[in-house]
Symmetry: C2
């Protein structure tokens, strides 16, 4: 086993209380004793066990945050909001970045047994039924951000409405053939899908229906990875066909930026040859003059952290579900 305080005490010829006092920089230690203890610590390479240390004192709470790739600006912004709140109130913020459904399951397995954290925030997904049951059983509160779930603390936006707003805007600009690019991600159960993106698709279809237009299956394509490159690829598959759309609605700004790149490479003028609208309003949407549907990303994280913290402290929750507002932001990519 590792070196413990007993080993140090023995090596220094003192009691463990004295070692502890040195460790905690108590005044009441004779300088020579102190030196001997420090020497023993150094020689043995002793490292106090933080767990044991915190067990005998007020101690810190920890909050786990499970999210997808750190390359996704949306998720980073949500994390930022969570961090803002937590750094004020106190608990450690443990980040679990998920790169596969398998890792997600493994982590949830450990977390749901109470092995690691005192509270959990999931970004853009919710734990499956089994994990949920155990989390409940162990009284570990869970908040989900960017996901709606009646059983959990949840902070979300109305993605159906978001999809509707974006599409209606394009229709109002006179477009009749509008493409939709959706991204898919691996789900906890191993399947693929993306609830928010699905909802936005529904809003897209609503707007088309309202305008009396049919939904054409070949105008809806999927991007498999979250990246500009993938957005460009999806745009290509949409535009390099006989009857291409005149406008594209991408379910994230990142994908939309890829479309803009594609358009630039092909010499297409935006928005005349091709109008583009995204979703999120990430920092760089302004830079790229990209129209989009703004989500209050940082606020999404802040609210989720606040709800969770209240639950962790056993405070009454005035509400367990918070819907955040969405806003259409029109820039040059749709209205030159």
């Amino acid at each position: 086993m590792a070196v413990t305080i007993y080993d140090v005490a023995k090596a220094a010829g003192v009691g463990i209380s004295t070692v502890s006092r040195v460790l905690n920089e108590s005044k009441n230690v004779r300088p020579e004793t102190r030196q001997r203890v420090l020497k023993a610590i150094a020689e043995l390479g002793y490292r106090p066990n933080p767990l044991a240390r915190n067990l005998s004192r007020p101690g810190f709470l920890s909050v786990g945050v499970m999210l997808g790739f750190l390359t996704n600006p949306f998720q980073v912004a949500v994390l930022h909001g969570i961090q803002q709140v937590l750094s004020e109130v106190g608990p450690n913020l443990i980040v679990y970045s998920i790169d596969s459904a398998e890792r997600r399951e493994r982590l949830l397995h450990g977390i749901s047994q109470g092995h690691r954290v005192d509270g959990l925030i999931c970004v853009s997904f919710a734990p499956g039924p089994r994990h949920r049951q155990r989390l409940r059983r162990y009284n570990i509160p869970v908040a989900v951000a960017d996901f709606r779930d009646p059983e959990l603390l949840s902070v979300y936006v109305d993605n159906v409405r978001g999809g509707y707003l974006a599409t209606r805007h394009l229709l109002e600009q006179g477009h009749r053939r509008i493409g939709y690019i959706q991204d898919v991600q691996e789900q906890p159960n191993g399947a693929f899908g993306n609830r928010p993106a699905q909802d936005r698709l529904e809003g897209y279809m609503q707007a088309l229906a309202e305008a009396g237009l049919p939904v054409e299956a070949d105008l809806v394509v999927q991007a498999n990875v979250f990246s500009r490159a993938e957005g460009a690829r999806a745009a290509a598959s949409l535009l390099e066909r006989p009857d291409p759309p005149t406008a594209i609605f991408a379910c994230s700004d990142m994908l939309a930026l890829g479309i803009l790149e594609y358009a630039r490479d092909r010499g297409l003028t935006v928005p005349d040859d091709l109008a583009v609208i995204g979703f999120d309003d990430i920092d760089l949407a302004t830079f790229a003059d990209l129209s989009t549907v703004r989500q209050p990303m940082v606020e999404l994280g802040r609210q989720a952290a606040q709800l969770l913290w209240q639950a962790m402290r056993g405070q009454p929750l005035e509400s367990r579900a918070v819907e955040m507002p969405l806003e259409l932001v029109v820039r040059r990519s749709t209205a030159g």
Copy 2:
């Protein structure tokens, strides 16, 4: 105090071992007993203490990462690299985002006393002498990324050379009046400054000297915040004067993007009216066609995490300092 396993045991009329078995989903519990325990847990709102739990088992290690704002893509990329390595090898990743020198001190104070983590990674700074001493005393290994420190595990780039490369490139393009935008940040000691940016300034001066040009003090300006807006503001202060530079070297891509925005707003053609080069090569530099000096950001994080993990496991370190390569990337913002 909080509800403990003893309270649950008493309420359920069983021993604590049985409660523990239920908690750990052991087979050897009679269904009825199990139900009674679960009921007690629910009624009392009992939450197992993760610290105590891990104390009596192999247990997880934790690594703390201290970094600046999560709005800085460079830092996020480094974090991403750290996360990649750590998620493979095992320890929890605890993120401490620093928004003030005061918070940084407070956190370092706790961490350096061994209260929270088993290892520490600092991004773009190093702990001050006092903290360093305590971290050593408690045998908590420390790695710094994007910072060079002979006493710590460090992974860094040669920023002087980076500044030199960027500036020489501009000189080669025929520019003679070259501005430099530097950002400052609050330091642990409360002072302001930014080592990497200072080093790049030095490289800038070297290149000018080599070309036989004087360093003009009014061509070097400071940005106070890390943002595009601040980059635009700095560009304005540089360009709205009698004898403006024909090229600007910004110490980060984010600032450089602000310069490009400024140029666009003013109707300046890039690179003919104004050449711009940044630093980092963040994801969006490609999108913006921004020339830059590429840092291996993710790799910087990966290496730091690897060095730290080796130290935490007591493995011999083949080297305590790793210099990562820098690369000039020429795009349209300097070479139309």
